[in-house]
């Protein structure tokens, strides 16, 4: 059975179209990622499926409940972590947790096993005010609070934005554990490396889902000829590669540059050309697309 069935959701704010006919399904226990830039409509989508705002048209059914009619029943079963840090900064870690537990009519002890793995990081600071925690710690506390009532479905709106790589990794390890508990998770992120950790992802742009599939199939579906190039003068390289005939689209990619070759692209010709421009240690080979490459291609279109 599907945990989430969304059909043709549209949401407008004045002239701006936040969501433009979005449809998707999420299976029970699935870890579903929504990948896209700021302003693509992710937050509006979360708010609609969290019963916080109403869509202009379309339907959303979560856990068998309609988001408009059955919102009261649904709210008992949803865990939601909004994009901004939304806990009480002037309450301590402990107080926040027990407050949110009472909101759902439970106690921190009742579902402690669910948050234990996360809360152990916070335990030493339980008397500290939430506002004084570091970014990574705040996110962990927010996750604990969203989980404390043992929700059937968890919505996380950009939980790792502004969080350092180590905390991000820990955070995703926790999500994987929660998935083992049978909780369906919908998470949005601007980090492409995190997309690979999801069961399925949706690439969203300007209020539309451009692609929905497993990360692997999305990568495999990348049909453009992708090349990787590296030399000892990386700054200049990008401009030089772009200027070369037969290179259609070039962009920096960590320590190397990626580019998509057009028709009649001649690898040896590029090497010679680069050497002529004074580049040394030239490494040029075909590359395998990552999710980020897929995103770059979609973003360009």
């Amino acid at each position: 059975m599907n945990a989430v069935t969304v059909e043709n959701i549209t949401k407008r704010y004045g002239d701006t179209v936040a969501l433009n006919g979005v449809s998707f399904e999420v299976g029970t226990g699935e870890l579903f990622g929504i990948i896209g830039p700021d302003g693509a409509g992710k937050t509006s989508l979360f708010r609609i499926i969290a019963t916080l705002i109403l869509a202009d048209s379309g339907t959303a059914n979560i856990l068998g409940f309609d988001v408009v009619q059955d919102y009261k029943e649904l709210r008992k079963r949803i865990g939601y972590m909004p994009g901004r840090f939304s806990l009480y900064q002037d309450l301590t870690v402990e107080e926040n947790l027990s407050f949110f537990a009472s909101v759902f009519g439970t106690t921190p002890e009742e579902n402690y096993h669910l948050v234990e793995g996360i809360y152990k990081f916070l335990e030493p600071f339980k008397k500290r005010r939430a506002g004084k925690l570091s970014g990574g710690m705040k996110q962990k506390l927010a996750l604990c609070c969203a989980l404390i009532h043992k929700p059937d479905i968890l919505y996380l709106d950009e939980p790792t934005t502004g969080v350092d790589p180590v905390s991000r990794k820990e955070f995703w390890e926790m999500l994987k554990q929660l998935q083992q508990e049978g909780i369906t998770i919908i998470v949005s992120t601007p980090y492409m490396d995190e997309a690979n950790l999801c069961d399925r992802i949706a690439l969203i742009k300007e209020g539309r889902f451009m692609q929905i599939d497993t990360p692997q199939r999305i990568r495999e579906g990348y049909s453009a000829p992708l090349w990787v190039v590296q030399t000892d003068r990386m700054h200049r390289l990008l401009g030089d590669v772009r200027a070369f005939g037969g290179v259609e689209y070039g962009y920096a990619f960590g320590e190397a540059h990626h580019f998509i070759a057009g028709e009649g692209f001649d690898p040896e010709g590029l090497k010679t050309y680069l050497r002529g421009l004074g580049h040394g240690n030239i490494v040029l080979h075909r590359g395998e697309a990552t999710i980020e490459d897929c995103y770059m291609l979609l973003a360009k279109q």
Binding site: D38, D164, P165
Partner: protein, 247 residues
């Protein structure tokens, strides 16, 4: 990249009560360099950056920025640097050109010069059509690009960027970095913090802070060799795992 040293920090330390946020850090940044200042949340990056910008006094140690002492000449420093952070960048309720006008005015630029440079800037950013748009209604990525352009509008010696690309999508982030390179090519030194490790690769040199100390400082290539890592992400993880403090 020039040989001239524009940022010099020597044993810079900042303590808050018994807590040492920044612990005797020393480093130099050369003119025109893109310097990545990395570290986990709470490692002390923001505190260090504040001291360099003349916003907070060090408990001990010496620092000069653009040739001025960070303790005694902080006002001069502020005239010669640009600053942009993810949190505060532009006034949302002002139009694009009004924001530019405001910041240029703060740095005492003349009207004529402002008008000419504004046109050139909007042209370069392909923003000419957005001249009269309220900043509020621009997408985040555009705001960040505009904020960066505004922060270097007065041609500062150094620009400090505090997580400039947080939450921005990969496509816009790349456009942003191309702007950083352009600035560096014009001789502006770029001092940048980021949580994206692919961006660390784009820096000329990076330092990684752990628990208030600068643990390593080198080019991304040398660091990867030293840690036998394939990416900066791995370097960062192997270092940050050692962190004792979580705050």
């Amino acid at each position: 990249m020039g040989e001239e040293i524009v940022i010099h920090a020597e044993e810079l330390t900042k303590t808050f009560g018994t807590f040492t946020a920044v612990d005797h850090i020393s480093f130099d940044v050369r003119q025109g360099e893109v310097f990545g200042f990395l570290g986990a949340n709470g490692a002390g990056k923001t505190t260090a950056m504040r001291m360099l910008c003349g916003l907070s006094k060090p408990t001990s140690g010496i620092g000069t920025v653009a040739g001025y002492d960070i303790v005694r000449q902080s006002e001069k420093i502020k005239r010669n640097i640009g600053y942009m952070s993810q949190k505060f960048s532009l006034y949302e309720d002002l139009r694009v050109w009004e924001n530019i006008r405001l910041y240029a005015g703060i740095y005492g630029m003349r009207d004529r010069e402002i008008a000419d440079k504004t046109d050139a800037l909007l042209e370069r950013l392909h923003f000419t059509r957005e001249r009269n748009t309220m900043v509020r209604s621009l997408p985040l990525g555009w705001k960040q690009k505009l904020a960066f352009s505004v922060s270097i509008f007065h041609d500062p010696a150094i620009v400090f960027l505090d997580e400039p690309t947080g939450g921005v999508d990969p496509y816009t982030r790349r456009q942003f970095w191309e702007m950083i390179y352009e600035a560096a090519d014009r001789g502006i030194t770029v001092f940048v913090t980021t949580h994206y490790m692919d961006e660390a690769e784009y820096c000329d040199r990076v330092s990684i802070m752990v628990d208030g100390c600068i643990e390593v400082l080198d080019t991304p290539r040398n660091l990867k060799e030293r840690f036998e890592a394939r990416s900066m992400d791995e370097v960062f993880h192997s270092l940050a795992r050692k962190a004792k403090r979580t705050e």
